[in-house]
């Protein structure tokens, strides 16, 4: 037990114990911290209940989806004004699961983000690549499609099981594209002695592969899926060489809407809906 001495007021104070004013100070400070923490939790975790984007969608019964409908098979608008494509089906399914209707707004690509930020639409679903430089301006959903590069071989190819199998092989690429750069990176940085054969288009590169003029090709997934469907005769290694994630964009402060989209995309991955879309459109 500490030695007691009388303080100025005559109150007993324990030597080594904090003076009263300090105790009050720390107590108030702790209370302040708790209040701040509570406020932060309330505004982030429970923000969804006050997410204006979600509430507007629910109130109107419509989710307005902005897209540049000139990019098949993701989105295209025909002469009668009807929209169709992978992104269109995705948007309609999201709307159905939320119990609302999807309306599509056709906006030229350059104006998409401004249209979102000026409330011309609620979401952007437009084969939009994730852009790390815009994450302060918009909120991005998790990815729903990977348009990255795939390593492609003939169906009967057995010796190439990965990039290391490309040593001393001819690899077809589209001139000047990400596939071309990836092939150069493998040659120069990963030191795989492959021979790069450039073509004017990715289709020509895949045709050359099919015809046996090259041993493999490095091409974006969309071109690969199309070619694999028709004319076929090729297969691709399941591991992507690079990622190009397509995402949904929404206004900042749409935390609850983001959560609803993320949850639905996760369900769509699990229940096979996204695979169904891929089979339908590629």
């Amino acid at each position: 037990m500490g030695k007691m001495k009388l303080g100025r007021q005559g109150a007993a104070e324990t030597k080594g114990a904090l003076p009263r004013w300090q105790r009050w100070f720390w107590l108030l400070l702790a209370l302040g911290c708790w209040l701040l923490a509570w406020h932060l939790i309330r505004t982030t975790w429970f923000y969804g209940h006050t997410d204006p984007s979600w509430e507007l969608i629910q109130r109107r019964g419509v989710v307005r989806v902005g897209m540049d409908a000139t990019y098949p098979p993701f989105e295209v608008q025909d002469e009668s004004g009807d929209f169709s494509g992978y992104d269109v089906d995705l948007a309609q399914e999201l709307a159905r699961r939320w119990g609302v209707r999807a309306d599509f707004v056709n906006i030229y690509f350059d104006g998409l983000y401004d249209a979102l930020l000026t409330d011309k639409c609620d979401l952007l679903i437009s084969a939009l690549p994730y852009d790390a430089t815009l994450t302060q301006d918009v909120l991005y959903s998790p990815s729903y499609f990977n348009a990255g590069l795939l390593l492609v071989v003939r169906e009967d190819e057995r010796s190439i099981k990965g990039v290391n199998g490309l040593a001393d092989k001819k690899v077809g690429v589209e001139l000047g594209t990400a596939g071309h750069l990836e092939a150069r990176r493998l040659r120069e940085q990963a030191r795989i002695p492959l021979q790069i054969v450039p073509f004017s288009t990715s289709y020509e590169a895949l045709q050359a592969l099919h015809a046996g003029e090259v041993d493999a090709a490095i091409v974006d997934s969309i071109s690969v899926y199309h070619f694999a469907r028709d004319p076929g005769g090729i297969r691709y290694l399941s591991k992507f060489l690079t990622d190009e994630q397509y995402v949904i964009a929404m206004r900042p402060g749409s935390g609850y809407l983001w959560k609803r989209i993320a949850d639905e995309l996760a369900r769509m991955h699990k229940d096979g809906f996204l695979q169904t879309l891929q089979d339908k459109w590629f």
Binding site: T70, Y71, D110, G111, A115, L175, G176, S200, T201
Partner: protein
């Protein structure tokens, strides 16, 4: 000998010695730190402007739209412009965002634009400067950087004055704003030809104050068939006529034109209901109807796209053919057209969308086949497609 005594002296000396050691340490640190910083920096290539060059070309109307606004590294700026010269194009259109260079009213930062302009001039290129992009201090809250309220028209005009004055003798062409007939480019407001005419007038007067010899161009309008009253835009031909109706005449020395071909060849005939390269003739006709037939036109955006999946693209071979033919057409058939600048020469980084299908050179400076074929054309050689 008394050790205690010498110890005493040592003890007495130690504090002074310690101070000296500390001072020497601090001095060494002060010298070493900058050296460490220098050593730690990645070596930067030494970039020289180099001796003045001249563009060798058979078609002096060839141009490209470069996109060096966000190109940070000087060597890339120089290399891009070298490649433009080597391709045979004497003109470039470059974007100079107002908001980048006047971050606060009256305070200018010309460092980057000086780099671009000086390198362009060294490569023998003529610069057409497109100027827009509202700085934050002139932008109302919750609007975009294309929303210029009328109370800030004078500030924009002041910037035009400062720009023209700073670049006097180096940049002889300025383009006032961009595609104001699109609501997106007008801050997602309804397009307003009369308001644009007022902006143009204000900018023109200030530009001439700074340099009477500068050529002021009215903005290139987006070719569009937007129906009357559309919230997205106004037909470019209608917008131009309404600019004249609002008194814009006399406040520009020429007109910038945007003439994208989409999926149509350059010789596809012009028609008010068609968007094609030859729509530029209709723009010129509007000017002629209003008494400005003698004013020059500058096609500051044009071109075709060869992305494999874009609905308005053409195959790469056709893109090359159409591009070369467009340059030829302007030279042989359009005396009123001073330049055709194709969009876009190169981006600093990949767009990763269909827009990459517009470029001639990749961000990594790989020249695409279109670059090589246009170069052959500029040198008067036969193109690969026409060679036996």
């Amino acid at each position: 000998m008394s050790h205690g005594g010498s110890n005493q002296r040592r003890l007495t000396r130690l504090p002074k010695f310690s101070k000296l050691r500390k001072s020497l340490f601090v001095i060494r640190l002060l010298v070493a730190l900058p050296l460490l910083w220098l050593v730690g920096r990645a070596p930067q290539p030494v970039v020289r402007i180099g001796p003045p060059q001249k563009v060798q070309t058979t078609n002096p109307k060839m141009g490209v739209h470069t996109r060096l606004t966000d190109e940070v590294e000087e060597w890339k700026i120089k290399r891009t412009l070298e490649m433009v010269r080597e391709m045979g194009a004497p003109w470039i259109v470059e974007y100079f965002p107002w908001g980048y260079y006047e971050p606060e009213k009256g305070h200018y930062d010309w460092t980057h634009p000086d780099l671009v302009v000086n390198h362009a001039l060294a490569q023998g290129l003529t610069v057409l400067a497109r100027i827009d992009f509202v700085p934050e201090w002139a932008q109302p809250e919750n609007t975009t950087f294309r929303y210029l309220p009328e109370e800030h028209f004078a500030d924009y005009a002041d910037f035009i004055y400062a720009f023209v004055q700073h670049f006097s003798g180096r940049v002889r062409y300025v383009i006032i704003w961009n595609e104001p007939n699109l609501s997106f480019e007008w801050g997602y407001r309804l397009p307003d030809p009369a308001a644009y005419a007022r902006l143009l007038k204000a900018a023109y007067l200030r530009a001439k104050e700074a340099d009477p010899e500068v050529t002021v161009l009215a903005a290139g309008l987006a070719p569009t068939l937007a129906p009357p009253g559309s919230e997205w835009g106004m037909d470019d031909l209608e917008f131009l006529q309404r600019m004249y109706d609002a008194g814009a005449q006399g406040y520009f020395d020429g007109v910038a034109i945007h003439a994208y071909g989409w999926a149509f060849p350059p010789d596809d005939p012009p028609a008010p209901e068609a968007i094609n390269f030859a729509r530029a003739e209709l723009v010129h006709e509007v000017m002629a109807r209003n008494g400005d037939g003698d004013l020059p036109c500058f096609i500051t955006e044009a071109g075709w796209n060869d992305h494999p999946r874009w609905a308005k693209a053409v195959p790469p071979g056709l893109r090359i053919e159409y591009t070369v033919r467009a340059y030829e057409k302007a030279q042989q058939e359009w005396p009123w057209c001073q330049v055709v600048a194709m969009w876009a020469f190169r981006y600093p980084w990949p767009a990763r969308t269909f827009q990459d299908g517009f470029t001639f050179v990749t961000p990594g400076f790989i020249s695409k086949p279109i670059y090589t074929e246009v170069q052959h054309y500029a040198q008067g050689e036969q193109r690969a497609g026409s060679r036996q």
